[in-house]
């Protein structure tokens, strides 16, 4: 155990975690030249294409330092706030963390939030000043920023570049010298932390764990404490680039476990693995059931594909347990699912994976957060509102509560004004303002989560010219004034376009929704009135004017087949639209409210 080091790499998005991990793997000879590729650990197609890390990835390296062999378990973590629970569990599996800071961008919102997570878990922090090869790098200043933030010595900050490999040797030395070896008790009953899981279609769910106390061996009868289920450990081993089966994984080490579990929902990140017959008395702290933050309906574009969609969603859930869904139906869209997501990026990823991996074209409805409603009749019973149609009639409504978050925004001093106005417009209340340096300010707001769902990121980027980073964490429910804004097309309510909106914004948003829909819905053969309404009251109206001309003048011998093909193509294009009443609505119109300010 003395020669094991467990560490994770944490940072703000894009500060170079995965790239630096590549260099560590190279330097320690953990990958052969043939296996090398950029951001090697980002092994999902979607991760590679988008250049972001979506899941944590663990890998074991061996390294000789001052004549001693060391085992270094590295966990690369995602930077995006949607996945912060996962980061927190990865952190819990380690004794140390490399805190990467981009030498051009300095400290950003997730730098701070992830640092605090690491400090709460008593991790040894090794600050790394990354990307110093960049011409725009500001090594002295950013080192000062880091020193201010951590209260450390400037010598402790390691200058590095994931691009050139500079600093890698120093980082490895620091990992060994500064991060304490794990301190497990090998003789106690098994106690291991699940920090990740991966679905393998052939082998079932692979569970990644860190043994805190005791050991886990092949064939052992084990139990997961939170789910209460027990299994036999068919295979255990360590995580090299390929898995290496072992007969036993000892306290302090990191490994994988295969039990034949087919459903990812049985493997909860943060759960504790113990021995079935001789269980530990203590579950590892910090376990939470991941709670979805954002809800939206997902419907097949073609109603006939409902069953296929269900199959696809079930398969997706096998490898993404944070996706939750249940069947629902809509008058406009027929049968579909109400789905819960970790955030908007997660929603986007699920939608993209459905298209890409399952060839399912779906309509996603206006997302909303989860509200609590109380009626006059039963003012103490919570009604969960995950869908606009769940909101009780205004006349019977006693009160509504909505989820709030604590937002942390780091920006340049120049943009404090515009960022503040944006947050105030988004119903935020400022709680704190700290100058990190003379240039850089951290702003804290209490804000409704719902406001972040609707085009917050894009606008924050715009008002700060890109110089603002953002992070949040939930702080509970607060009372709210909520209304449901309905959209009528051709005088018919389209339930899938309804949105839950704070009463003060209902008029503006209703108006913008009508305008946006007028842009997105193609002109058809008749005028289409678009109305926004609260209850029976119309609050806004637009009209999509009928097409004037949709015919080509000539249709003689040679034109016929060309023209037939053109019109067939048009007809096919319509398959991507949803007919509601006699109005054709394109797929993307249903999410239009998200981009109201474009």
């Amino acid at each position: 155990m003395k020669h094991i080091r467990n560490f994770c790499i944490i940072a703000h998005i894009d500060h170079g975690k995965s790239t630096l991990a590549d260099r560590l793997l190279d330097y320690t000879g953990s990958v052969t030249d043939r296996e090398k590729q950029d951001q090697l650990l980002d092994n999902m197609d979607l991760e590679r294409e988008r250049g972001i890390t979506i899941k944590s990835h663990a890998i074991q390296m061996e390294y000789e330092y001052e004549g001693q062999e060391y085992v270094l378990n590295l966990i690369d973590t995602p930077g995006h706030v949607d996945f912060s629970y996962e980061v927190s569990r990865s952190i819990a599996a380690c004794e140390g963390a490399l805190l990467i800071v981009d030498a051009a961008q300095s400290i950003q919102a997730q730098t701070i939030s992830n640092l605090y997570l690491a400090l709460e878990n008593d991790l040894e922090i090794i600050p790394v000043l990354n990307k110093i090869d960049l011409p725009s790098a500001n090594p002295e200043e950013v080192t000062d920023d880091i020193v201010d933030l951590l209260g450390c010595d400037p010598d402790e900050v390691i200058p590095a570049s994931g691009k050139t490999g500079l600093g890698v040797e120093d980082i490895l030395a620091a990992i060994i010298e500064r991060i304490p070896a794990p301190e497990g008790k090998p003789d106690e009953p098994l106690q291991a932390l699940i920090f990740d899981s991966v679905y393998n279609p052939f082998r079932g769910v692979e569970t990644y764990f860190r043994v805190i106390n005791g050991s886990i061996r092949k064939g052992q009868h084990i139990k997961f404490i939170a789910t209460g289920k027990d299994y036999y450990a068919d295979e255990v081993g360590t995580l090299k680039l390929n898995q290496v089966p072992k007969s036993r994984i000892e306290a302090g080490d990191v490994g994988y476990l295969i039990t034949g579990i087919k459903d990812a929902r049985e493997v909860k990140v943060g759960d504790t693995i113990t021995d079935a017959k001789n269980p530990t008395t203590e579950a590892i702290e910090g376990f939470e059931d991941v709670k979805p933050m954002v809800f939206a309906g997902i419907y097949p574009v073609d109603t006939e594909d409902y069953e296929e969609l269900r199959n696809s969603m079930e398969k997706l859930q096998l490898n993404d347990a944070s996706l939750v869904f249940q069947p629902e139906s809509s008058a406009a869209l027929g049968f579909g699912f109400r789905c819960g997501f970790l955030g908007m990026l997660h929603l986007e990823i699920i939608q993209e994976r459905l298209e890409r991996e399952f060839d399912m074209t779906v309509i996603t409805t206006v997302p909303n957060v989860s509200y609590h409603a109380f009626t006059n009749k039963q003012p103490d019973d919570v009604i969960l509102v995950n869908n606009p149609s769940d909101l009780p009639e205004p006349s019977t409504l006693n009160r509504v509560e909505e989820p709030y978050i604590k937002a942390s925004i780091i920006t340049k001093a120049d943009f404090v004004g515009p960022v503040m106005s944006l947050c105030i417009e988004k119903r935020g209340q400022i709680t704190n303002q700290t100058y990190l340096t003379t240039e850089r300010v951290e702003l804290n707001f209490d804000m409704p989560l719902a406001e972040i769902v609707f085009d917050f990121y894009d606008r924050l980027k715009t008002v700060s010219k890109g110089y603002a980073s953002f992070d949040y964490s939930p702080i509970g429910m607060r009372s709210s004034k909520l209304v449901r804004v309905d959209i009528l097309l051709n005088a018919q309510t389209v339930d899938a376009l309804s949105a839950l909106i704070h009463a003060d914004n209902a008029y503006t948003i209703g108006k913008k929704m009508c305008e946006k829909l007028r842009e997105l819905i193609p002109r058809q053969q008749f005028d289409i009135p678009i109305q926004a309404a609260i209850g029976a009251k119309i609050i806004s109206r637009e009209t999509i004017k009928a097409l004037r001309k949709d015919v080509t003048a000539k249709c003689y011998g040679g034109d016929i087949s060309r023209k037939r093909k053109l019109l067939e193509k048009q007809k096919k294009g319509k398959k991507r639209m949803r007919q509601v009443g006699n109005v054709e609505i394109p797929q993307q119109a249903f999410m239009a409210v998200l981009k109201l300010n474009d």
Partner: protein, 345 residues
Amino acid sequence: MLIALKKELELRAMELKDETIETIYFGGGTPSILETEEIESLIDLVYENFEVRSTPEITVEANPDDLSSEVLKALASSKVNRLSIGIQSFFENDLKLMNRAHNALEAKECIEESKRFFNNISIDLIYGIPGASNEQWQENIQIALDYEVPHISCYALTVEPKTALESFIKKGLVEPVNDDGAHEQFLLLKDILEERGFVHYELSNFGMEGYFSKNNTAYWQGKSYLGIGPSAHSFNGQQRSWNVRNNSKYIKALEQDQLPSEIETLTKVDRYNEYVMTRLRTKWGISLNYIKKEFGELYLQYLMDQAHSFIEGHLLFHDKDQLYVSKKGLFLSDGIASQLFKLNL
């Protein structure tokens, strides 16, 4: 070229062996390429190789600048009995904008001269031209009526890519084409011509009774036709074929006794779609009996399902056996046709 044309005609004589030729049509610009004797020799060749009815419609399509008095005289003495003249407009500003080779005066003189030799004349006019007012358009129609031509084809201006007009519009020198304006002029046209006894028998075609273009009507009624020459299209009820565009490739192939064409066999769905598409443009509309007989009950049901909202919105009319586009729907008939289409699986 003439040799190649004749070769193709002979090689393909078999294709229409059970049919009687009703019409012969020499497409746009023929007189600028072929001498009248050459046209005549082609007509003779048709007579030699096919069964031709006693009074076929034989049309030559030409632009005013191709139709000198001599050409007209020569054509009149041949079997050619119908002229289709690309007048486009009687106004100088329109013709300039469309980059035509003739001017307004030539347009008028051409009709006067043609009338001396031919009775069955069709002229083309273009509406929806940027900058041309409704009054000017009405005047255009009036001039055509004054010449008492029995057939008028009218087309809405479309801006073709890479034309002078397109670049003028892009540079803002000419205002863009306006669908609302075109629609207004179309309705003006329809009202005026119908009042003068013309039948609006196809979206772009107006004719006095007895003077409809037999040749073009055949296209919309799904009849067989044989197209000879580069990029010509043919149809035999089941298959469409088309020749290469390129003149020298065309000639080379025929020199080697080969047909330079591609063939596409229509599926039942294709045939249904074509029927719907072409028929909707005509005053005859879609015959529901025909749909049932030719394609079956399921197609009929599908058609009526799709048509439902258009009938409700008064874009389509359903009258006994007939389904046709209303006046309101005419200008939208492609979009409507597309909605009535079936998709190949």
